[in-house]
């Protein structure tokens, strides 16, 4: 019972962090149809910036998170303008190569600037303890991660389903040419969505630093995981991504608890089985 609860909480927290990071990837892939392998690299940049702000500058945790998100977006904007715009509508191989190139660059630069060691983002006292449920205690950070995931999911749902910007996004996802013909300025929609997506990636990178430790190869290590979320959830689907993240979080965490000597074997096996069974994603939206 104890183990089941531990696995449950950890799986939920891990799934939610995955969600916060990869939902942006899902939306941009649904919108711009770019296979973006560099998404994890931006989450990693967020983690590094927050670590620098909180540890080296001694800023408050909340301020560090804000700085990380804003800073990562500031780095991403010129990258979108000068590199990504060149590959919208290009072949898949071209997109893969360009975004792998960006990933390699980010890894190399991160290694040069911050060194190869793990970086932590020190938690404030209010988040670092644990709550006692009587029969068992739970780390507050896990609950915080779960809460943050729920808030992000709700906020995105509200943005996309309830605002006029959301209507434009949905129109552009369904048919970009048609949306443009109706007067939606797709380039601006793309740029804003990209910024939001990168901001969320950075947020997830910071909040998840306890679960996905920040180090230079972060961007490669979790590249597949984020892509798998989109592939299983279906590009552009929030509910699909949420389901995919919870499923993958459960599989990965259970594997780590019950058969740690197998590493990620069962995780990748599950990925192959799920993607083979649902090549269009669980929600069938992926084209």
């Amino acid at each position: 019972m104890q183990t089941v609860l531990s696995i449950g909480i950890d799986a939920l927290a891990y799934g939610m962090i995955l969600f916060v990071i990869s939902i942006g990837l899902s939306v941009t892939m649904g919108l711009m149809r770019v296979v973006n392998l560099a998404h994890g690299a931006f989450a990693m940049i967020g983690g590094y910036l927050a670590s620098y702000a909180a540890r080296d500058l001694g800023l408050h945790y909340g301020l560090a998170v804000l700085l990380a998100v804003v800073g990562t977006i500031a780095i991403a904007i010129p990258v979108e303008r000068f590199l990504y715009r060149r590959i919208y509508g290009a072949s898949e191989l071209t997109q893969v190569l360009m975004t792998i190139g960006i990933t390699f660059c980010v890894i190399g630069i991160a290694n040069f600037v911050f060194g190869p060691t793990l970086k932590t983002v020190p938690l404030p006292p209010s988040l670092s303890g644990s709550v006692d449920l009587g029969f068992r205690s739970i780390a507050i950070h896990r609950l915080f991660a779960i809460g943050a995931g729920l808030v992000v999911a709700f906020a995105l749902w509200f943005l996309i389903e309830r605002t006029s910007f959301g209507i434009r996004i949905r129109a552009a996802v369904d048919n970009a040419a048609m949306a443009a013909a109706l007067g939606v300025r797709t380039e601006i929609v793309y740029a804003i969505s990209f910024a939001v997506a990168i901001g969320l990636a950075a947020l997830g990178g910071v909040l998840g630093a306890e679960l996905l430790p920040v180090e230079p190869y972060y961007a490669l290590r979790y590249m597949v995981t984020f892509l798998v979320v989109v592939s299983i959830g279906g590009a552009g689907s929030i509910s699909g991504a949420l389901v995919a993240c919870l499923l993958l979080g459960a599989i990965d965490t259970t594997g780590r608890y019950l058969a740690p000597e197998y590493g990620e074997f069962f995780f990748y096996l599950a990925v192959i089985v799920i993607v083979t069974l649902f090549p269009r994603g669980l929600m069938g939206r992926l084209k």
């Binding site: 060149r86 190569l97 360009m98 660059c105 980010v106 040069f112 074997f265 192959i272 992926l286």
Partner: protein, 332 residues
Amino acid sequence: MRTQDGSSRGLVQALADRGIFGILIIILVGIAGYYLLPNNLALLTRITATALLVLSIDLVTGYCGVATLGHAALFGAGAYGAGIASAHFGINEPISMTLIGAAAGALAGLISGFVILRAHGLAQLVLSIAVVHLAHEAANKASGWTGGSDGLSGIAPGAIFGVFEFDLWGRTAYVYGIVLLVLVFALLKILVRSPFGMLARGVREDSLRIAAMGASAHSVQMRMYVISGIVAGIGGALSAISTQVVGLDSLSFTLSAQSLVMLVLGGVGSLYGAIIGTVVFMFFEDTVSAANPFHWLTIVGALLILVVLFAPKGLYGSAIALSSRLTRRKSA
């Protein structure tokens, strides 16, 4: 043959089409390497083994249009196949080890193809990455057979034909590698010119059209994956024989991604491009990463971005385009 403007040019073209020049150049460069870089033969053999892997990726990506980031699984299968045959079963005859590597690669190609070719687009890419990670984790777990993260040691290849011992300087291994590369290159040159090679190019361009001609795109890609596995497996076996150790990095995502980069650098869809890309990339890597391995990754990344933006046909493809533009201008 194909160009009718002057018989000498026609002959040159015909020889180029048949890969005669390629074979001659590989042999000449091979001999030059032997005498010019006698202390670097280990590096040159590593380049040869990697060139086989990159050729193998070219078969599925360049000739069949399948984007894969998991091709090291086929290379690693060949390396472990040959290595395990020697370390655990005492099969130390190098040519048998190579054949076992080729068979292991073919089997890995069959399994990878079976998994990867079921999907398209993003799902296909994700499956290809998952396959190489799965193979990596499996090899890590089966440490009794593979040596796990310590690597597989105890590989002791005997003399080729009982005569040519594998020496400390890697001379025999180097010559053996060049011979293998020439043989594979010649056979692949025949393959890509054959009716099957033509069908594969058709699949790359429009698989629906191929179906309307009565052929199955899936079956073409499947057969190509197995052939590609044989080629990668030979490369893996060469790596196992020459270094006498097999590490988990031969099954890694990084190797998969880097060899795709080499292919793109040289030029996708051309056997020459695959080899040129490998040689340029690995020499560059050897020089730069000796200075600082982390700058190396930054440079690879930047290089990749530059190739995508300014030379999407790769070094070989761009050179061909440039030379044909120049000759056209001259004749005009």
